[in-house]
Symmetry: C2
Subunit: 292 residues, 2 copies
């Protein structure tokens, strides 16, 4: 990527071996200084989606923009991104602004501009963890370990899917009417096809790895996509780094109506740690059944 | 409110009778023009919280800023607000910028500044509803109708609580150790103490009417508050306007750890309509138990 005069890299296993993981290539940034408000990124063909890049890789790049800013206080705790327009193939600019820094947290405003147009808006919260009372109230789904499940074959020609191995427990990527279900839940083990540690960018991407739930209701792909998503990172960096290859994702929609559906996800470590919760609103285009 | 040279009002029952509901007073805005990027608001003593105003009334004011902007396309669908610093009593400025307008949706960046400091950041999505395939997948809690429940007495001296009648089905506002629970769920009927129609500002406020879940776990109040919240509005204006006095709210935390806890809420109409889903991250200050 000769356009980059200065690169910042996540500390991954691949990077430590002197190689660069494809995910890290895709979120590589060029900054005039470690505290520049604007950093340059570039789409990566390995993460292409239907139109523009996989939203998860855009989220990962945004998180990387924060992590590589020397003004950062704490670690990512919340990220909201709004996909206002598709990002075209090529360079784009991430705007990262720490607009308020408190003693134990920091508030960021984020945006992506390309060709003078806003493509993504967003905000993020970073926090300093404190030792406090703690309790886990959510319940991890009871599922077979990933070793007992076969990875799904290629479910579509989309490039970004090849970065992951998905082992579906329930709610497969639908291949036809036989896969239509009244319950939109998907639960799956997710693994980087090329091994890589779990960190905040990887987790931000994983939170968007579920397809729009309308696919599972209808049993086939329809025009649909994420419009806005919010992810809460509930684990610290050490907890993430201690994870094995697979994280367990589970997702379900609450309602489909008026061209939009919300869905709610959890990402779990195999050790029972709740790593993240995430919610998003997807648009979809499916006409109402004709009234008889 | 003599500071206001021009006011914009929600179309509520009270307003139509020529009176102004306290909620509408609290979200009244002054704008130089119907498309000003900056509008002036003012805190209202009836919505005071522990420190600064009730976050829900701030959310309602933000929604009103969008609804009263002549540039608006569609109706509110998603709102994320980050509470970066407390708002002091008095005037404050809302920044509302429609940064991208598409055929069927619009993306807004939001902020509150006061005394030259950023106090709140945020984004919003507005959408044009389309007739589509629809399905409700979430399940409304089975609860007694509000008429069979007594409203809770004053649970604290906080001013904003007096704007609502809360009828708790489970998870009362805790008054002591006997109310501590291993399950942080609260389910309650919520009604405006002074009758008012349900609309987007009212719903935005209601989504923040649940106390931090740590109170219910411990059985008492501790230093805690919302840092970031995201609400998806799943009903259109007509569905909201058709609601009766009470909406049913249910909320539960997923995890408490490192000084933060996330919580997830749903707001239902008595007619079984899912009106909104909402999630927030609260900070809390409770030391870890001493190790023996």
């Amino acid at each position: 990527m000769q356009i980059l005069d200065k690169t910042v890299r996540a500390d991954t296993a691949a990077a430590r071996k002197g190689e660069m993981h494809q995910l890290d290539e895709a979120i590589e940034l060029a900054a005039a200084s470690p505290s520049s408000d604007i950093v340059r990124a570039r789409t990566h063909p390995a993460f292409a989606n239907m139109v523009g890049p996989f939203g998860g890789i855009t989220a990962a790049a945004m998180v990387n923009a924060i992590l590589t800013d020397e003004r950062l206080l704490g670690r990512p705790a919340a990220l909201t991104l709004n996909f206002a327009a598709p990002i075209s193939d090529g360079d784009y600019d991430i705007s990262r602004r720490p607009v308020r820094t408190n003693n134990s947290n920091q508030h960021w405003t984020l945006a992506i501009e390309q060709d003078g147009q806003v493509r993504v808006t967003g905000t993020a919260l970073t926090v300093r963890d404190r030792e406090t009372w703690s309790a886990l109230e959510a319940v991890m789904p009871q599922v077979p370990p990933p070793g007992q499940l076969e990875p799904a074959g290629p479910v579509s020609g989309l490039a970004w899917l090849r970065n992951y191995e998905m082992r579906f427990v329930t709610g497969v990527f639908p291949a036809g009417p036989q896969d239509a279900a009244d319950d939109s839940t998907t639960t799956m083990w997710l693994r980087h096809a090329d091994p890589r540690v779990w960190d905040f960018p990887a987790l931000a991407a994983a939170a968007d790895s579920f397809s729009p739930r309308i696919f599972n209701r209808l049993g086939h792909v329809v025009p649909a996509g994420t419009v806005t998503m919010t992810t809460y990172f509930l684990a610290d960096a050490a907890t993430l780094a201690a994870q094995g290859a697979d994280v367990l994702g589970t997702v379900r929609a609450a309602q489909f109506s008026g061209g939009h559906a919300d869905q709610r996800a959890q990402l779990w470590g195999a050790d029972g740690s709740l790593l993240a919760t995430s919610t998003q609103l997807c648009y979809f285009k499916v006409p109402a059944p004709e009234q008889s």
